[in-house]
Amino acid sequence: MNKTPWYNKGLFSSLNLRQKTLLTIALTALVLLVIFISGTMINVNLPTDFATRMKPPSFEHLFGTDWMGRDMFLRTIKGLSLSIVIGIGASVISSIIATILAFVASMNKYLDSFVSWLIDLFASIPHILLIMMISIALGKGAFGVIIAVAFSHWVNLTRVLRAEVLQINTSEFVALSGKFGKSKLWIAKEHILPLVLSQIFVGTLLVFPHAIMHESSVTFLGFGLSPHEPAIGIILAESMSYLAMGAWWLAFFPGIALLIVVLLFDIIGDNLKRLFDPSQANN
């Protein structure tokens, strides 16, 4: 099954696989960076202009305007950049949790079964339910959403890392280091961590799209942020009320933009995996 994905074909086919992968990563990262940086430059309280409310897309307002006359393009970009911030926060925190738990599990068999139990416990609760409960308990707001998403997305990565650490632990050089009297901490730091670092890195990036989707789901359901703040979920939820009036642009553009951002992260993650883990590059 030697099938290169669509984004590695065509225009850049003269480049070798490694160059193409790097180029893809650089380009997608650039787009995301541009969205993020321009988002941070937009004030949360977007200017309203009731004279131009509910206007369909035009050159002046690329994505149209909403019921308070706010420019939907700015609102969408701001919403996406908020999604990215929440995505970064959540995936970094969840990777840290996953790493710590994976190493804790490798200490002894009691801790290992405890971590396995914890994984099973969190995996058995539907994500969206967990996110809602945690974000309410933490007093809502962007902080609550970040922590909630972080605390529900470490499960898969932990499972992968735990298995990896377990495998490395049985290798001869680890046993040898132990015989030489090296502490467990030293082994973890010097032998195991460098080997799983690429897994952690790729795992972090692959949590990203999950985190963004879940962030927009909870804000769509009305948990988390004030309804005048620009989050993609809020924008989509609000657009529902105006669809009957024919204001399709309120849902269409933000929805497509969200889809694109999620896809971009997915592309970066896939390509990074290919770089770090050449043995799977052809999968």
Partner: protein, 535 residues
């Protein structure tokens, strides 16, 4: 794994478009001419405890129609009191005793006779549960033959309003847990069916003693605003209440009718400084920015209300400067120009608020003129008001952060930050709830914690005066109170309805429209215009 959520998004987008397409298309559903299908309700909400007046059904702010039950008095289109169950009433000269004679020809829909005992029971029960009308001044109520005697704790000339507020339930077999599902009343309609979360169906009460309504059956749907508008587009309903955002739409076969209401929107501004004072339920009272009268005055004169209403309410509203709607007997004029930014700036400067650090926001003694305005995120007009006020305030150098949330989020800050409120009762007792220092920071009363004994004594004086002459005193009390600007009043909002072209809702006989009011008050005058047109 990685494609799963991408597919999820695509499905979601398609679903949204599908729902939209469904809402836009569809055909007309026919129903008989003597049946009315409506989508209106007080606040657009389903009553949580069913149709039980003891739990607040038929009452939000004084002036609503319970339909299933009768009340002692009703209001007419000019807001005068007219008899419903009463044949006569007498008020003692000290306004502490109200004696009402009850008609003796009224039966409940279960066939039993409605007596003075049932009336007394209903008022006692309503006071005991405390979920509907404000009966705080009522000491006791007793039946005496065909008369009911209300004895009050203190003189209260506004109590006559309370005689319109409580639907009468039968004492026999009344059960406060189950009555709401199977209400027995004596009003023009009886409940035929209640599908929770969907609709209720009323049928005409054949034994009703008053004017017979035209419609034999009323089906009222509980729909979200967008679904209500979609129902109008489909022709599924005869009348639907829609938010003002939809008011400029046109639909074939329907016309827009809107009613000026006395439902006024205002933002409470804590009048006291935050000195660590707590309310009875341990909520902080006061704010160091709005506690300065200059800040409150600057906002009151500096906000351009007309621009705000044109935007936030689509123009369906009237500017209001003092919280008392023009239709009420105790309304009064306010003598300042709206949106006077220059004056607002000079008021701030005179009080020592200057922009020392050139960030566009004034400050004084190291305190930046910055506070939050909370709004109920379920109400889009309140969101628009909060956001638009925040934007306008920036021009006069005051920084306002709008924050949306549920009432659970708002409660902990309701006495220490700005909150967007809706008020509007046909009962002048509202003034007491808004400004009296004795109810300062109690529940939703006097959230700005205004403390002015002159206001209190004017309120006491008004309560001891005959209803009509008391209005001047109520007006004085409100003027005295608004001179401190405990609220930033914005305007009254109109209620907008899509009405089928073959339905006459008798626009000329509508009752006064309070906060959380409904449109049923003149159901007796509604009619089909051309009965052959429907079927």
């Amino acid at each position: 794994m990685d494609k799963k959520y991408i597919i999820g998004v695509i499905v979601a987008v398609i679903a949204i478009i599908g729902v939209g397409a469904f809402a836009l298309g569809g055909g007309h559903t026919e129903h008989a001419a003597n049946e009315l299908v409506a989508c209106v309700a007080a606040h657009g909400e389903e009553p949580e405890f069913g149709f039980d007046p003891m739990h607040g059904w038929g009452y939000h702010d004084s002036g609503t129609e319970p339909l299933i039950q009768s009340t002692i008095l009703k209001r007419d289109k000019d807001n005068n009191f007219v008899n419903d169950l009463a044949t006569d009433y007498d008020i003692s000269s000290d306004f502490k005793k109200y004696t009402v004679t009850i008609r003796d020809d009224v039966n409940f829909t279960d066939g039993s006779k409605l007596t003075a005992n049932d009336v007394a029971f209903s008022y006692n029960k309503s006071k005991e549960l405390g979920e509907g009308a404000d009966l705080s001044s009522l000491k006791e109520v007793k039946a005496d033959g065909n008369k009911v005697v209300f004895t009050l704790e203190k003189p209260d000339s506004t109590f006559i309003n309370k005689l319109t507020d409580v639907g009468i339930v039968p004492e026999a077999n009344y059960n406060e847990d189950s009555y709401g599902q199977n209400p027995i009343g004596s009003g023009p309609y009886k409940l035929a069916q209640w599908d929770k979360g969907q609709q209720f169906i009323l049928e005409k009460n054949p034994d009703y003693y008053g004017k017979e309504p035209c419609f034999d059956k009323i089906t009222n749907l509980f729909l979200d605003p967008d679904a209500a508008f979609a129902a109008v587009k489909n022709g599924d309903v005869d009348i639907a209440e829609v938010p003002v955002a939809y008011a400029n739409e046109t639909v074939d076969g329907y016309h827009m009718e809107y009613f000026d209401s006395i439902d006024v929107r205002g933002i409470s501004l804590p009048t006291q400084m935050d000195e660590g004072k707590l309310s009875e339920d341990n909520i902080t009272i006061g704010n160091n920015v709005t506690g300065d009268p200059a800040i409150r005055e600057a906002l009151t004169v500096g906000i351009d209300r007309q621009a705000l209403l044109d935007g936030a309410l689509n123009g369906y509203g009237d500017v209001n400067y003092n919280g008392v709607a023009d239709q009420l007997g105790w309304s009064f004029e306010t003598d300042y120009k709206d949106g006077d930014v220059d004056k607002a700036k000079s008021v701030l400067a005179a009080a020592g608020w200057n922009d020392t650090d050139n960030d566009g926001i004034v400050d004084k003694d190291g305190q930046k003129a910055s506070f939050s305005i909370y709004y109920n995120s379920a109400a889009s007009e309140r969101q628009a008001i909060a956001v638009a006020v925040a934007e306008q305030a920036k021009e006069i150098g005051i920084e306002i952060e709008p924050v949306g949330g549920s009432w659970d989020d708002i409660d902990p800050v309701k006495y220490s930050q700005g909150v967007v409120w809706g008020f509007g009762s046909a009962d002048p007792m509202e003034i007491e709830h808004q400004y009296d220092s004795r109810v300062a920071a109690v529940g939703y009363d006097n959230p700005g914690a205004l403390n002015d004994t002159a206001v209190d004594s004017l309120i006491d004086a008004a309560m001891a005066q005959e209803t009509n002459s008391s209005y001047a005193t109520w007006s004085q009390a409100a003027q005295q109170a608004t001179s401190h600007n405990p609220f930033l009043w914005i305007g009254t909002m109109d209620y907008t309805y899509f009405v089928s072209d073959d339905l006459d809702i008798s626009n000329s006989t509508h009752l006064i429209y309070p906060h959380g009011g409904d449109i049923w008050g003149n159901i007796y005058d509604w009619n089909r215009i051309n009965e052959t047109a429907t079927e």
